[in-house]
């Protein structure tokens, strides 16, 4: 087979690996938006802190890498719980649309710079034990990227199934569709919103643990991912899981091929130009949700 084919296949694999991570982060944003029409800016820092939690678990406590993914999961869940407790829950009662967003921007700036002071700007080398290279013809990938795809796709599938088939998932979708009516049906909103944020944040933390060995770990690791996650949720359609998954993989692929054929410096440029075009042409995203009050 020609080299051209291998190149395409190689970049497709690279794109899918990054896309999987983006989907894990973006799904959380979309879920939170779905149940309470809010964006959590600090979501980015759950990715970063999840990565650091996993790193220090391996480094200091001698834990295994797979277990450290679980640690990052828990770290993300705790952070999500705290942000809900301190920001979203108290502000929800006052019923202002933009204030929680501004508050989470504050939390994000705070966490990011707190991490900068605590961990320093020098990137941490997070070595995964899964660094063997698998070779298929002229296509290379590491076992770590295989692990990322497996963990990401299984957790995404689990989340999808949870939302689709369990009672709690159904209740969450009911809140997303109509909050007041869902409340009348006896659904405990405050608890379910908290649960959504915790699940979403845990996924973000987990993504951080898997991101560490692929990129490097810095206090800004999450920030570079989250801006793309924002682009993904809008391109996919805010609050829509299937759209987010498609858009996440799409952005991963765009990024890989931009790096190959243009320049690695312009990937953000291409992704955000796509986002702005999408907002102009079809602001409801690839798959539109029924409510369009924000557009």
């Amino acid at each position: 087979m020609s080299d051209f084919f291998y190149l395409i296949a190689q970049q497709t694999i690279n794109g899918v690996v990054m896309g999987c991570l983006y989907v894990m982060v973006a799904l959380g944003l979309t879920l939170i938006y779905g149940v309470m029409n809010q964006i959590n800016f600090a979501h980015a820092d759950f990715v970063t802190l999840g990565g650091f939690a996993a790193y220090f678990f391996v480094k200091w406590m001698g834990g295994g890498y797979l277990l450290s993914i679980l640690v990052a999961f828990l770290a993300g869940a705790c952070l999500g719980y705290l942000v809900n407790l301190m920001i979203f829950a108290p502000l929800r009662e006052r019923g202002d649309e933009l204030r929680p967003l501004i508050a989470t921007i504050g939390v994000s700036v705070l966490l990011e710079n707190g991490a900068l002071i605590a961990f320093g700007p020098v990137p941490y080398q997070f070595d995964s034990p899964y660094d063997e290279t698998i070779r298929l013809g002229k296509i290379f990938f590491t076992t770590q990227s295989l692990l990322v795809v497996i963990v990401a796709s299984s957790s995404i599938a689990a989340l999808y199934a949870f939302m689709k088939y369990t009672f709690i998932g159904k209740a969450l979708r009911a809140i997303a569709q109509d909050r007041e009516t869902a409340g009348l049906m006896g659904i405990n909103q405050a608890f379910l919103i908290m649960l959504t944020i915790v699940i979403a944040s845990a996924m973000a933390g987990m993504a951080g643990a898997m991101l560490g060995p692929i990129l490097v770990l810095t206090p800004f690791a999450g920030a570079s991912v989250i801006v793309k996650a924002f682009a993904i949720v809008i391109i996919g359609g805010f609050g829509n899981m299937a759209g987010t998954i498609i858009a996440g993989l799409l952005v991963g692929l765009i990024e890989a091929f931009t790096t190959q054929y243009l320049d690695s410096g312009v990937t953000d440029l291409v992704v955000f130009a796509l986002l702005l075009i999408m907002l102009l042409v079809k602001p409801t995203g690839l798959i539109a949700e029924k409510k369009e009050e924000n557009v």
């Binding site: 938006y33 029409n37 809010q38 964006i39 301190m86 920001i87 108290p90 502000l91 006052r94 202002d96 649309e97 933009l98 204030r99 967003l101 501004i102 508050a103 921007i105 504050g106 939390v107 994000s108 700036v109 705070l110 966490l111 990011e112 710079n113 707190g114 002071i117 801006v227 924002f230 682009a231 809008i234 805010f238 320049d263 410096g265 312009v266 953000d268 440029l269 955000f272 130009a273 986002l275 702005l276 907002l279 102009l280 602001p283 009050e293 924000n294 557009v295």
Partner: protein, 326 residues
């Protein structure tokens, strides 16, 4: 006490302007020969312009705009490049680049007229990221991440036969604070006119505003245009003050610091963003002994103010005032 307060209200506004001018003249003299404090004074003046102009869009028109750093960056880079590459005179370059920033603000406003709330927040942030990436990647024009060095201060001007040079920071401070004062007067007049009521009506309820015959789209474009122009004007003085120009000075995170100034000071008031800009520029400097805590302070104060004092420092001052009267 209440009598004294009512006397305060009767003082005509020109007295306040005169007091402000006196304060501007006295401040660099009071702070002595310290170059450090003088550069902080200049930074405060620039931040006041940025916070006031963001407040027009965010506080008065109610548009959650997170890309203000883009307008600041356009002003800074356009001025420098027009002088360097196109041979413009300094003042022509300042005028042209603030106009350019205004036009770019109007471009962003086309998004604002179609989007609301969170969508606008993300679109405006994407806008600032794109501009930052262009500055980083357009190496032949902007020298990319290395930046542009050795930018000259504004050329001297002749005033009443006196030549005023701007290579000293006191005169530069007078110049920039004069520009900031003019911007304040312009904004204040706009907001006291019926236009101010129109913008506030759009902020409170766009549909009701439209039903009263207000063309919300047009006024959003106006608000973004004027806001961007003033931010661009601030930006065009930035390079000649700092002497160097790097893209990271206009990264998205800087938009968040202007947001913090507006919210911490008191959103939707004239004086609030000024207080916010002064406090949030001074506070990190006073905390310098702990380390570079600038953004940490911004993040913390932004969160605390939104949670506990949504009207910002201004609300706190008014609370204290009413308690004193009682």
């Amino acid at each position: 006490m209440s009598e004294q307060l009512s006397i305060l209200k009767k003082i005509p506004s020109w007295v306040y302007y005169l007091l402000t001018i006196a304060l501007i003249i006295v401040l660099p003299i009071l702070l002595g020969g310290s170059a450090y404090w003088r550069s902080i004074l200049i930074t405060i003046s620039l931040n006041i312009m940025l916070a006031m102009s963001l407040n027009l869009i965010l506080g008065y028109t109610g548009q959650l705009h997170l890309g203000h750093s883009a307008f600041y960056g356009v002003g800074a880079y356009a001025t420098t490049l027009l002088i360097k590459k196109a041979g413009f005179s300094f003042w022509m370059a300042v005028a042209t680049s603030s106009l350019l920033a205004g036009i770019i603000g109007i471009l962003l406003a086309f998004f604002a007229t179609r989007l609301k709330g969170h969508y606008l927040a993300i679109a405006s942030m994407a806008f600032a990221i794109i501009l930052h990436q262009i500055l980083l990647n357009w190496g032949s024009m902007t020298s990319g991440p290395l930046g542009i060095y050795g930018i000259a201060p504004p050329p001297p001007i002749a005033l009443f036969g006196l030549e005023i040079k701007f290579n000293n920071q006191v005169n530069l401070f007078y110049l920039i604070s004069f520009v900031a004062l003019i911007s304040y007067i312009v904004l204040n007049n706009i907001l006291k006119s019926p236009i101010g009521d129109t913008l506030r009506a759009i902020r409170e309820d766009e549909v009701s505003a439209a039903s009263l015959g207000i063309n919300a789209k047009l006024w959003k474009v106006f608000s973004f245009g004027v806001g961007a122009m003033i931010a661009g004007l601030a930006g065009s003085f930035y390079p000649s003050f700092v002497g160097t120009l790097v893209p990271d000075a206009f990264a998205v995170i800087e938009s968040f610091s202007y947001l913090a100034m507006v919210v911490v000071g008191g959103m939707g008031t004239m004086i609030g963003p000024i207080i916010g800009a002064v406090v949030l520029t001074l506070l990190p400097e006073l905390l310098r002994s702990i380390g570079d805590a600038r953004l940490l302070v911004y993040g913390l104060s932004l969160t605390l103010v939104v949670l506990f004092m949504p009207g910002g420092i201004l609300q706190a001052i008014q609370l204290i005032k009413t308690k004193l009267i009682k």
